[in-house]
């Protein structure tokens, strides 16, 4: 019905006063894939998600979700999607089961169907034992899991997850990532936003990198990494301000991009084993002491740095 596309985003624009949050974003998500929007905070990911969830009207452009326009058929879109908001949106006074029951009703589920579906979702999110406890008494990770469970109740064709792992412990994060993969294995299309490049790398069939309201690159993980070629990412921590040595390091042959945050300097270099001794020599000349060095092979962080001149964490 829609060429195998679950979502087709066509030149979306959204501004808030003078701030252009989203500027001409276009991408397609195929049915059954996990598609990640990767970018720093403020890149425009959540605004894009809000428009696809019919929470915000675009100023220009449109998107089709399972063939339904977000501007002309929002109710049909809402039936097809399950949304996991970035902020935990639960009723703290209600138990986990009561929360699921209420949200299930909002998706039109009733009676035994609702009861069965609640049981299944509790199983998926691992809260069967805690179903009668008020959500307000849950740990951050449990709340996140319940937050996801609500979006699964009506078996949506597309699930939209806006940074679902923000601020939780590693164990809960692992649980959520495994859930996302399992849901995808069951045929659900997942649109996932994150600013953690490891999550995007682990989960995604397709990744779009966003920055300043635009998509700066899109493709599979391997396709994106190829953008930076064989450049290694070298992160050095020094004992003083970066300005004392940064110009000298930028001038070294083989250093392509350099970005600094406080005393941490991140460089993209052609061959780290050849460049590294020169970096040390320049540091000694500038009387700067290097306290740690980390070398990483090309990854999404390096891609972002290469494309925007900034590290993902700078966002």
């Amino acid at each position: 019905m829609n060429n195998g596309k679950a979502i087709e985003v066509q030149d979306l624009h959204r501004h808030f006063g003078d701030i252009k949050a989203v500027q001409g974003v276009s991408f397609d998500v195929r049915q059954g894939e996990i598609f990640s929007l990767l970018g720093p905070n403020g890149a425009g990911k959540s605004t894009t998600i809000s428009m696809l969830s019919c929470l915000l009207q675009p100023n220009a452009g449109d998107a089709l979700v399972m063939g339904h326009s977000i501007t002309r058929r929002p109710m049909e879109v809402k039936k097809a999607i399950g949304v996991v908001p970035q902020e935990i949106a639960l009723y703290p006074d209600l138990t986990a089961r009561e929360n699921l029951a209420f949200w299930g009703k909002m998706y039109g589920l009733r009676g035994k169907t609702l009861g069965r579906r609640i049981d299944q979702v509790l199983e998926i999110i691992g809260l069967v034992e805690q179903q009668k406890r008020p959500a307000g008494k849950f740990s951050g990770g449990m709340k996140r899991r319940l937050n996801i469970g609500i979006a699964l109740l009506h078996k949506p064709q597309v699930i939209i997850m806006d940074e679902p792992t923000v601020g939780i412990d590693p164990q809960s994060r692992r649980h959520i990532l495994d859930n996302v993969k399992e849901l995808n294995r069951q045929g659900m299309t997942v649109l996932y936003t994150t600013h953690y490049m490891e999550e995007a790398a682990e989960l995604s069939d397709h990744i779009a990198i966003m920055d300043q309201g635009q998509i700066v690159a899109s493709g599979t993980h391997d396709e994106l990494v190829k953008i930076v070629g064989k450049q290694d990412r070298v992160e050095l921590t020094i004992n003083t301000e970066s300005e004392r040595v940064l110009p000298a390091w930028q001038a070294i042959d083989g250093v392509h991009k350099a970005t600094a945050t406080d005393s941490i300097i991140t460089l993209l270099v052609d061959e780290s084993d050849r460049v590294l001794p020169r970096l040390f020599e320049a540091a000694i000349e500038a009387k700067v002491h290097i306290t740690s060095v980390t070398i990483q092979e090309p990854n999404l962080e390096a891609v972002f740095l290469h494309l925007t001149g900034r590290a993902l964490r700078d966002g």
């Binding site: 999607i81 902020e87 703290p92 006074d93 009703k105 909002m106 609500i150």
Partner: protein, 425 residues
């Protein structure tokens, strides 16, 4: 159906909140209970458990009996004050003149002075003439002067009834070319006196169809205990204050949902925004309905408060619900966040309660300008309506404040809904 789901969810949340339950159900009963115990409720003292301190009344009766009709209205007032029925509450002595009565108050030898003017009886018989009974009392006292004022108000209502009857009789006779002679006046006076005595000693308020005497609003009725007569308006004030507070508190859940992100999440479900807002409004209405019913029944059972005839009670309950729900939605529409909401709700509700006279209901309060000011807020109309209902006023009398409340409620509701729709569009 979804409207009801949203409303029931809100109600469930409210019932799980200790603060909300305390605010909506416990506090009004508790405050009235404190007054109940302060006046000796359940203590067994006095009649019907009422253990009021004796009020010392000094009467300066300067009235001259009307020579033509033989009416001596001043004596009638004095007799009623000295009657056995009031002997448990009033200790009446006589003063020679106004100055002596005032001096008794100033010297703290009496609590209330009742000064009956010289032309009092004449004012009863001469068309257009007026006379004023003056109450002079220690300004620090409220209860004793309140009781005396209630008694005098009742007598004066009766006199007014007599005077209206006399005026009508005189006009009817004039139409037939006759004049009302002293005998007719005397006959009317005897009839009135018998009725007044009957009124004072029996339950015969309705025995005389020619004169319909109704006590002052919220005053004691034949079926009420004296304590219930005092507590009635107090409980009405508490009922109105906390029902309005409950309405606003529940309406504030829209703001709370916006804050915790569930309102936005609701908008991602296939639920129209009108349904979401509708559900919220229904929850406000249902909450105040439950609150009102619980408070009306529990106060009737605990404090023996008689809220009035069923028709009046239903009219007042429904109109108060609409007004409280509408007012709550309007107030909540101005609240930006729950932190601001606590301060704003407390401030607005307390101010409206004070202006509406809710905290002084049942006690001796200033009238005139204050009565006019209280009409600027729905609370004042609600108190008026409940007082009328409790005094068993006719349904047509109760319908006036009820209609005003209803109108105000609908207006508040429309404005509040428009503001919310604009805000969350």
């Amino acid at each position: 159906m979804k409207i009801l789901d949203i409303a029931l969810k809100d109600m469930l949340q409210s019932f799980r909140s200790v603060f909300a339950v305390m605010l909506m159900f416990v506090e009004p009963i508790m405050i009235t209970g404190l007054i109940y115990f302060a006046f000796g409720g359940l203590g067994g003292g006095g009649s019907d458990g009422l253990d009021l301190p004796m009020t010392r009344v000094v009467v300066a009766n300067q009235d001259q009996a009307d020579a033509t009709s033989g009416i001596s209205a001043g004596n009638e007032v004095t007799k009623i004050l000295q009657s056995e029925e009031l002997a448990d509450f009033l200790e009446v002595t006589m003063a020679e003149d106004e100055a002596a009565a005032r001096a008794a108050i100033d010297d703290r030898k009496a609590d209330v002075a009742v000064i009956i003017p010289a032309e009092f009886s004449k004012a009863m018989t001469v068309s257009g003439a007026r006379a004023t009974i003056t109450l002079y009392h220690d300004p620090t006292l409220t209860l004793g002067p309140g009781i005396v004022k209630a008694v005098i108000d009742g007598i004066m209502d009766g006199f007014s009834g007599y005077k209206i009857t006399a005026d009508i009789t005189e006009k009817q006779l004039a139409r037939q070319g006759q004049t009302m002679g002293p005998d007719t006046l005397r006959a009317l006076a005897i009839s009135y006196t018998q009725w007044a005595q009957n009124q004072n000693t029996t339950e015969g308020a309705s025995a005389d169809p020619t004169i319909s005497l109704r006590g002052p609003s919220g005053s004691r009725t034949p079926d009420d205990s004296p304590l219930a007569g005092i507590l009635g308006p107090v409980m009405a004030g508490m009922l109105i204050f906390f029902v309005f507070f409950g309405g606003a508190y529940t309406a504030q859940s829209i703001v709370k949902e916006d804050e915790i992100g569930t309102l936005a999440r609701l908008s991602t479900t296939p639920t129209p925004s009108a349904t979401i807002l509708g559900g919220k409004l229904v929850s406000v209405f249902l909450m105040v309905l439950v609150q009102s019913i619980v408070l009306l029944i529990s106060s009737a059972l605990i404090f023996k408060i008689q809220w009035g005839e069923p028709a009046g009670v239903i009219a007042m309950t429904l109109s108060m619900l609409v007004a409280a729900a509408g007012f709550g939605i309007l107030v909540a529409s101005f609240i930006r966040n729950t932190r601001q909401g606590g301060v704003m709700l407390g401030g607005v509700m307390t101010l409206c309660g004070m202006v509406g006279g809710l905290f002084t209901a049942g006690f001796n309060t200033p009238s005139g300008t204050f009565d006019i000011i209280s009409r600027f807020v729905p609370h004042g109309w609600a108190l008026d309506g409940w007082k009328l209902a409790m005094s068993r006023a006719s349904i047509s009398e109760v319908l006036v404040p009820a209609a005003v409340l209803l109108g105000m409620g609908v207006l508040f509701f429309v404005i509040g809904t428009m503001l919310f729709r604009k805000r969350f569009a």
